[in-house]
Amino acid sequence: MEQVIKPSIKEDFLRHFDFLDFSFDQEFYKNQRKEAKALIQNLDFPTSKTEYWKYTRLNKVLKGKYSFKELESTPYDLQGLAQNRLVFVNGYFSESLSKVNVGEGVYFAPLSQAKQENKELQNSFGKLYKQDEIFAVMNQAYHQDGAVLMVKKGKVVEEELLILNIIDGENIISQPRNLIHLSENAQAKVILKTIGYNSSASFTNMLTEVFVDTSANLEIAKIQEESKTAYQIATEQVKQEANSFFKINTFTFNGALVRNNLNIDLLGQHTESWLSGLYLLKEKQHVDNHTYVLHREPNCESNELYKGILDDQSTGVFNGKVFVHREAQKTNAYQSNANMLMTDDVTINSKPELEIYADDVKCSHGSTTGQLDEEALFYLRSRGIGYKTAMATLLKAFSADVIDQIGIESVQLEVEEFINKSFKGV
């Protein structure tokens, strides 16, 4: 039965891209698209039988009818946002909303422009995406615009850079594509944000390729604040060279179905990686966080901390995997997932995995699930603190160790405010 239905879903879905025109692309990128299109032929959308999609059903997402839509006017109030920003609306670059003022040695421009003027891009673009992952391949074949950040050797970017994706309208489909490349000893902080304005039932498939060269230092804060009915699949494909430092914090605040794929490949010795995430779910939201850390070389360290607060009828999924190669001796890998359940209608599926082939390693993982401590709540209330404030205080305390990880002050404040706002209403 399934075999009859599946190809038609795939064909139906791919029809969305039929009339897209990529004639503006240069030959190099056109060829890349062609290769990816060929790859799609042999791939299929995951089903409930696909182990890595076990807990996330895509039927609803794939059966939707979407359209690409470039808006003429974009009346958003972006005051107070980072001074350096690239803004995309429904996947299309918006020049009027963007503001770029970076010093020498930093290249920060939309992908469409970079493809034209930046020859270096060809060395890294399309080198990391996973060729057996249909959503990544789909992005490679039909991506729209996105941001390119390239930082030259030794250059330190003090101010944070913002890549903002705005989804506006109904049934919008978008496929943003970003690339971040930090050369030797470079340093940068990037905010990767998706928000929804008056939007509903949209589908976003974002792919970000990240190169962290020797001794470089990169921090990404990823904020997902789409509409309540939005579907999003976001993939970060990271490559870390020796002595490099990489940190990513993922905050999921909204979206009907959000799937995050974070794949980190550690290619050099003495690297350090920090992965953390916080998901605050309400109503019927579904958030699925998948991480994969591949330790290939000795003496590397990875730390993972994901926390979730699940309310109403929401579903959370955490699937973290640490793979330690035979050569990767002296690896330290830690993985931790903690969940707080607020009602009896929520479900959390946690799957922290370790696959280890080296003996001199320290690897551990932990997963806990529990509820708000009634006694702590009572204690606060007996001191005259209102129920809602007490609740928000406790939830903030629970999320504190993830929030503390954030190295960008504005993001830290934003996250704290969100918790205050959303859980004072419980």
Partner: protein, 480 residues
């Protein structure tokens, strides 16, 4: 530390101590599997009509299933048409004493290190010895009979207690449960059956020794243990198998039913032939073990796994009744080319249910040892509690240790904790022991024994001694 590698080498090279074959002419079914073979097995065992129907139904389900491939295991798939599904030692008249037993079999006991006689006298353990699927000696039966306890071979139970078998067979592990359970349901030849009546506390440890003896004989054991309301039983299962070059398939099904307020303790030592140093031969062990807990009942699984080339085994508990408790304690040792994918399943359905999983994995040589477990808490299982700990110890740099836990929770008042660590034996620990005059091997033995203590402590005394001995053999032969 130069000697560490030598030691590993030495250990990895030690031979399987229990490799020997008992030569008893057997009454075999032709190779292959079809409905006729099932009818042959059923007829051979004089089974009633309903039993045959059960088997045929299972066979039809099995035919439609595909072999599971999700486990972290690599092995050539067994050819299910190349197996004798029935083989029995020549039918003999009922035996009353050991004297009547085939002397060759007695010699086998000797090599196994269990003198049946002595065990009877000294330990008060009733031994139901299963050799190639047919029970040969059952002792202490009379004594148990006085209490109303039924402890017999499965085929005997089908003949003498059909109502009990009919009522409970397949209730915990349905025929459609998985590929190997379906296969087992279709072709199982024998096994053990145990029934403890209401309020009875079984005064002795019940134990069965399994042996796989005939080359090319798939062994399909079926065990059913029923503890009626308020009863208690401790059940031991231990295995050793002779050395063979061809892979032998073993797909057993064990069903435990603990009715209200009952308690079952099920301990296993599994030491089947793990294959040669080069990874040739060895037993394929695909076992389905599950217990059903009703109100206030408790099921505890303890296992020490040192054998088999490939192990695929997830003893689990369905905590259906309120306040029921499930426990799982496991030590799994893999050496040479052994592979194990093992763990536990705990399904919380009733309120205030508790489960504990303690799993200790030790991998050495070129082996791979995976923990795969499921903790599922249903929406209505309020105040449920689970604690899971799985530790892995790696010895040498050619082995792998993996953890694949599945945690699915749908209830807010439950508490679930899971933790896992992977490490190797600390050099400082070894140094400390050596400083006190121990040689390295003794030191490693000591450390490993300490590492496994939590699990070994759960075993009944006689078993614990044997388990420790087994660990030592495996260690000296494969670990350190």
């Amino acid at each position: 530390m130069a000697s560490e590698e030598e030691l590993l080498e030495e250990i990895t090279s030690s031979e399987y101590k229990y490799g020997f074959v008992t030569d008893i002419e057997s009454d075999k079914a032709p190779k292959g599997l079809n409905e006729d073979i099932i009818r042959f097995i059923s007829a051979k065992k004089n089974e009633p009509e309903w039993m045959l129907d059960y088997r045929l139904k299972a066979y039809r389900i099995w035919k439609k299933m595909i072999e599971p491939e999700w486990a972290h295991l690599k092995y050539p798939k067994p050819d299910f048409q190349d197996i004798h599904y029935y083989s029995a030692p020549k039918p003999k008249k009922q035996l009353d004493s050991l004297d009547e037993v085939d002397p060759e079999m007695l010699a086998t006991f000797e090599k196994l290190g269990i003198s049946l006689d002595e065990q009877k006298r000294l330990t008060g353990v009733a031994v139901d010895f299963v050799m190639d699927s047919v029970s040969v000696a059952t002792s202490f039966k009379e004594k148990l009979g006085e209490l109303g306890i039924i402890f017999c071979s499965f085929s005997e139970a089908v003949q003498e207690h059909p109502e009990l078998v009919k009522q409970y067979l397949g209730t915990v592990v349905p025929t459609s449960d998985n590929f190997y359970a379906a296969l087992n349901s279709a072709v199982f030849t024998d096994g053990s059956f145990c029934y403890i009546p209401k309020g009875v506390r079984c005064p002795m440890e019940l134990s069965t020794y399994f042996r796989i003896n005939e080359a090319n004989t798939g062994q399909f054991e079926r065990t059913l243990v029923i503890a009626d309301e308020g009863s208690y039983v401790s059940y031991l299962e231990g295995c050793t198998a002779p050395m063979r070059d061809e892979n032998q398939l073993h797909a057993a099904v064990v069903e435990l039913v603990a009715l209200n307020n009952a308690e079952i303790k099920y301990s296993t030592i599994q030491n089947w032939y793990p294959g040669s140093k080069e990874g040739k031969g060895g037993i394929y062990n695909f076992v389905t073990k599950r217990g059903l807990c009703l109100e206030n009942s408790k099921i505890s699984w303890t296992q020490v796994e040192t054998g088999s080339a490939v192990t695929w085994k997830y003893p689990g508990c369905v905590l259906k009744g309120d306040n029921s408790v499930g426990e799982f304690y496991s030590v799994a040792v893999t050496a040479n080319h052994q592979q194990a994918d093992t763990g536990s399943k705990m399904l919380h359905i009733g309120k205030n249910t508790k489960s504990t999983i303690i799993s200790k994995g030790i991998s050495a040589g070129q082996s791979n040892n995976s923990y795969r477990g499921l903790v599922k808490i249903n929406k209505n299982a309020t105040n449920s509690r689970n604690f899971t700990q799985c530790d892995s110890l790696l010895m040498g740099n050619n082995c792998g240790a993996h953890t694949f836990p599945y945690i699915e929770i749908s209830n807010k008042s439950s508490k679930v904790e899971h933790e896992a660590t992977t490490s190797k034996i600390g050099e400082d620990q070894i140094f400390y022991c050596k400083q006190r005059g121990m040689d390295e091997e003794t030191a490693i033995n000591l450390i490993v024994n300490g590492y496994c203590k939590e699990v070994l402590n759960q075993l009944p005394m006689e078993f614990a001694v044997e388990a420790q001995k087994l660990l030592e053999i495996s260690l000296e032969g494969s670990v350190g």
